[in-house]
């Protein structure tokens, strides 16, 4: 295939060539960045919580009648007994929060009492001795709390527990030598000893501000007995999640009706928790996907339109070429190559534009740098799209009969 005649033909269609190339360039730039954003969001929403999600659900219970902390604690202990007795429930634990909850208690950890800056941020999970089993966490060092080590705490009490369990991520951050168990740290200003280490437990928030301590959680053996109420995290027996989610609130109300469990979101399976936490990220990914598809469709339509016009305009020339011995394949090849040349030009500009847009996004929106893989994928998509779009008009051109040369239009 000779390229020179194609180029000289294109030179006579500067405006059209330029427009197609520019459309391809802009589309590439936007599609690359959109794909990149989609990938980032998907990576974000597939981060692990570290807990055994399929069997877990959460009950949020508010007390009626402003019980004191002691009264609330007594009610809570009874509730837990009721929950654990249910046949569909394997275990239950009280807590102030849970991963993906998006609200809770974050604090700082110091290694020395007089240290000015925190050594690490952390999410504080208040828990009892059933917490690890209920959530299905993996204890990799040290031991779990004993029942007698768990005490009551009110909203306004100081967090002064003699022992805590930390995640591996937090232990590694504080004690890189891997000997965290038995060491003393300062949580919220109070000394405490590391009793054990769990493998993985995500922080309560997945927002950007909490990204620094995403997996650095600390489990404190305290039941939060507040007059407001709190969360019960419940683990259903395998396969009995639905039954447990129906049975648990009913049993709680039967035992003690002086409570509020919101009908809409008072009882949430962890799948629902996850869907809520990542609704926005998923929405953004879907939107970007839709925009990509629409853009590619519009660009393809533009290429079809302009090429069809060119084919119509050049029927006579095509006829002449055919009469002079060019095969149908030659004609098809001509238009395909022509499109490839234009696309290559567009793609070249598009790559630069994609990088420029990404750099702008990085400065404005806390995004990371575009990886070249996405650019390459984008380039491949657009070259294929161009070839695909040009196929129909090119085929039509190849069917122009040689006799066309003898006709005046």
């Amino acid at each position: 295939m000779q390229i020179k005649p194609i180029l000289s033909a294109l030179r006579r269609h500067k405006a059209g060539t330029f427009l197609i190339a520019m459309q391809i360039a802009l589309t590439l730039a936007i599609v690359c960045n959109a794909l990149f954003i989609i990938q980032q969001r998907i990576a974000h929403l597939s981060e692990r919580t570290g807990i055994d999600e399929p069997d877990i659900f959460v009950i949020e219970c508010e007390w009626v009648g402003s019980p004191t902390s002691q009264q609330a604690d007594a009610r809570m202990l009874e509730d837990l007994r009721v929950l654990r007795q249910l046949s569909s429930v394997q275990d239950a634990t009280p807590s102030n929060s849970y991963p993906l909850n998006g609200g809770g208690w974050d604090d700082g950890i110091k290694l020395k009492p007089d240290q000015l800056q925190d050594s690490s941020g952390t999410t504080v999970y208040l828990a009892d001795d059933h917490f690890i089993d209920t959530l299905g966490l993996k204890l990799i060092a040290g031991r779990n709390f004993r029942p007698e080590e768990v005490a009551r705490i009110d909203m306004r009490d100081r967090l002064a527990a003699p022992q805590v369990i930390v995640t591996k991520a937090l232990a590694d951050k504080l004690f890189p030598n891997g000997d965290a168990v038995g060491k003393t740290i300062y949580l919220a200003g109070n000394p405490t000893t590391i009793l054990g280490e769990v493998e993985l437990l995500q922080a309560q928030s997945i927002d950007r501000w909490a990204a620094d301590f995403a997996y650095r959680s600390v489990i404190v053996p305290r039941r939060l007995a507040a007059s407001l109420g709190g969360f019960y995290i419940v683990r259903a027996r395998p396969g009995q999640l639905d039954a447990a989610m129906r049975a648990a609130p009913a049993a709680l109300f039967e035992h003690n009706p002086r409570r509020v469990i919101n009908e809409q979101d008072g009882v949430l399976s962890f799948a629902q928790v996850r869907a809520r936490a990542y609704e926005r990220d998923r929405g953004m990914a879907i939107l970007m996907g839709v925009i990509c598809v629409a853009l590619l469709a519009i660009t393809a339509a533009g290429i079809v339109g302009l090429t069809s016009f060119w084919v119509g305009q050049r029927r006579k020339q095509i006829g002449v070429r055919r009469a002079l011995g060019a095969t149908q394949r030659d004609i098809l090849g001509y238009f395909m190559t022509e499109n490839l040349l234009i696309s290559l030009g567009g793609v070249l500009v598009g790559v630069l534009l994609a990088i420029a847009i990404n750099l702008w996004l990085v400065t404005r929106f806390e995004m990371s740098r575009l990886s070249m893989a996405y650019v390459l994928v984008g380039v491949a998509i657009l070259l294929l799209l161009g070839q695909g779009a040009v196929l129909a008009p090119a085929l039509r051109a190849s069917r122009v009969p040689p006799v066309e040369a003898t006709r005046s239009v």
């Binding site: 936007i30 407001l228 609704e279």
Partner: protein, 434 residues
Amino acid sequence: MLRYYVDLALRSLRRDKVLTVLMVLALALGIGASITTLTVLRLLSGDPLPQKSSQLYYPRIDPNPRNGYIEGQTKPEAVMTYVDAMNLLNAHRAKRQAAMALMQAKVAPLRAHERPFYSDGVMTTSDFFTMFDAPFQYGGGWTPTDDANRAQLVVIAGFLNDKLFGGANSVGKTIRIEDHDFRIVGVLKDWSPQPRFYTQELGGRSYGDGEAVFLPLAAARAIDITPNSVNCFASVSDMKHLETQPCMWLGLWVELGDAAAVASYKEFLAGYANQQQSLGRFQRTETDLPDLMQWLRDEQVVPDDVRLQAALAFGFLLICVVNTVGLLLAKCLRRSGEIGVRRALGATRRDVFVQFMVEASMVGLAGGLLGLVFTELGLWGVRHQPAQYASLAHLNIEMFLFTFVVALVASLIAGLLPAWRACVLAPAPQLKAA
């Protein structure tokens, strides 16, 4: 003449139906996407109190320890300790001033069989309502004396009044909040300025519904209601008596009438910080006094995602316009023969140019109309998103008209090149070719 051009344009558009549909559809998609995102963006970056925002200021001081302070870089704190808020409040250096914190309050229902429910609330001081121009349906706010006396009074929102009293005048009646009796002194009309400027940094949402109850700060604290957000900068001995602890939990707003008042308040604030430093309470003397809109900018209330979507949508529109240019160009060059005939029969270049611009603008109008449909669809989609601002996403008349401006401008820009190419065609060769 214009009618003739419109007629010509319609004929030409009808001749290439597929091409016309393609152009209109692409333009409409671009317009739909960009107007949808622009509507949301404008809504989210709007002025919550247009008539008052230029007079409202948010003083910021910094009671934190010296450690971690970088001169010129560290911004003063966004919330205040009780001591500082009261010192500034009681100095009465502004025309009006109010300290506030957000809270959750359990409200008891009036009928026995209903369950109590939690409502969002504000604990604040008496100037709150006049300073923020909060409109009353019945009654009014409370007085500074009520503040001092810890009077158990409450202003309730219209929607709570509807829920509890069926919308009747409830001033003078009593409701139970956190198991204490509060007498209603005022009922607000629907009032929820967007973005929720005074809830920033106090543990509230940036957009959405307003609060249900407004209590005097002292009265609310007297029955131990805790603020939504408490931020302590030193070790705390007693979380119950927040007033005496090194904890920040109050926002302070002041109303300053003119530039002179602003300048003098700035001076007062700087003087206060210096005085507190010499007393040993402050280690940092940086202060700031942003006005309402500046405060919202500092807080970056508009979510990044929304701005990103808007940027993307306009990129999308640009591609659609380029696409339309290409297609219009193809169309118009195909009609070289017709143009040659028209020129030979006496049409000037100007005439040909206008004719093609009319055709382009008709594509634009059609694109605008369809774009409006897409915009409504897009906004409907936004309303069904889980965002706080979802319910606010509606097309106003301004954006409705703007849609057509965008559509026309886009199509005219798209039409320029083809129309120019058409009008500079030399008639003779075209006639010969035909």
